[in-house]
């Protein structure tokens, strides 16, 4: 499964790079001149499903902008237990927290499916931030949102039991589709991956979901989770 992190930028890639930047919410209001400056310094890269993009503890030298596909960021605790910190998809970026602090990457990022991304050297980003204040504002907004996300994760893991975490997470990701409240499942959304995100183990998660199914609150399907009773699920999330 070869990674191709340093291919030269082709003309066709420039269009792709521009399209990718247009999907990054934090860069939406940047002027064309700024987007061009970013685009010219980005390098395309691809990773196959299962490949490691960056390792926790490695020097944080690049940020990555995801063009297509899902990745997961995991952190290994001192006792060896793995906790998923976040799942990211096209239009999202990671690595900036390491670049701006000069620290190592705090998480290991792994491709969950074949992905396309763009790498930007940290030194280049620092240079662009100094030259273009709107880039600095975009990065500050992104880092601020990341802090808020981690505060929420701490609350989830520290203050809620497993059932409440499941309920809270399902409601946070629920969407109305064809008259049903559902949580879509990606091909890689296995019980193991869900358990890693929820800070538990597969057996405990399986029992929790079975109990919620038995109570008529939801039903697990291969491609989605159908929520029949959001009110009861909300109550289970208040623990």
């Amino acid at each position: 499964m070869p990674a191709h992190p340093s291919e030269p930028v082709l003309v066709s890639d420039i269009v792709r790079a521009r399209q990718t930047l247009s999907t990054v919410r934090h860069f939406a209001n940047l002027a064309d001149e700024v987007l061009d400056a970013l685009m010219r310094r980005m390098t395309p890269c691809q990773f196959d499903a299962g490949q490691v993009i960056c390792l926790e503890g490695e020097p944080g030298e690049k940020i990555y902008i995801l063009e297509k596909g899902w990745v997961k960021a995991v952190r290994t605790a001192v006792d060896g237990r793995e906790q998923a910190a976040m799942f990211l998809r096209g239009g999202e970026l990671f690595g900036d927290e390491a670049v701006f602090t000069g620290a190592a990457y705090p998480v290991t990022v792994i491709a969950l499916e074949n992905i396309k991304a763009w790498a930007l050297e940290g030194s280049v980003l620092l240079e662009l931030v100094q030259r273009y204040p709107p880039v600095a504002m975009a990065v500050i907004r992104h880092l601020g949102e990341r802090v808020l996300y981690y505060v929420q994760l701490v609350e989830d893991l520290g203050l809620r039991n497993v059932q409440a975490r499941v309920a809270h997470t399902l409601l946070a990701h629920a969407e109305l589709k064809d008259g049903q409240l559902i949580v879509p499942r990606q091909a890689w959304t296995t019980l193991d991956e869900m358990a890693t995100r929820l800070g538990t183990v597969r057996d405990v998660l399986s029992r929790t979901l079975s109990a919620l199914e038995a109570d008529g609150i939801l039903r697990m399907e291969r491609t989605k989770i159908i929520i029949f009773d959001p009110q009861k699920l909300l109550e289970r999330g208040r623990v």
């Binding site: 490695e58 290994t76 001192v78």
Partner: protein, 88 residues
Amino acid sequence: MSIDETVRLEILKELTKSLPHASNLRVGVIGGIAHLGGNLSNRDEWGLAEAVAHSVFGVRGVVNRIEAPDAPAPSRKIDLDFLKSDEP
């Protein structure tokens, strides 16, 4: 330089000695846990890299995500020493 960074550089040095032909091994260290990535050509080298990292002073555990034929998937869930409980 942090202790983790010192340990990381020591692991890289030892890997260079033990696997001189390996060109793209990657190492990260946080809290004394060494994370290995990159590619090797066979399972024996995969195991050797892990053993080398383990042998470095200051390493408390090794998460081996190196790609090699017949080696465990780099993306697998890692539990180095996890005690299962109902309410972690």
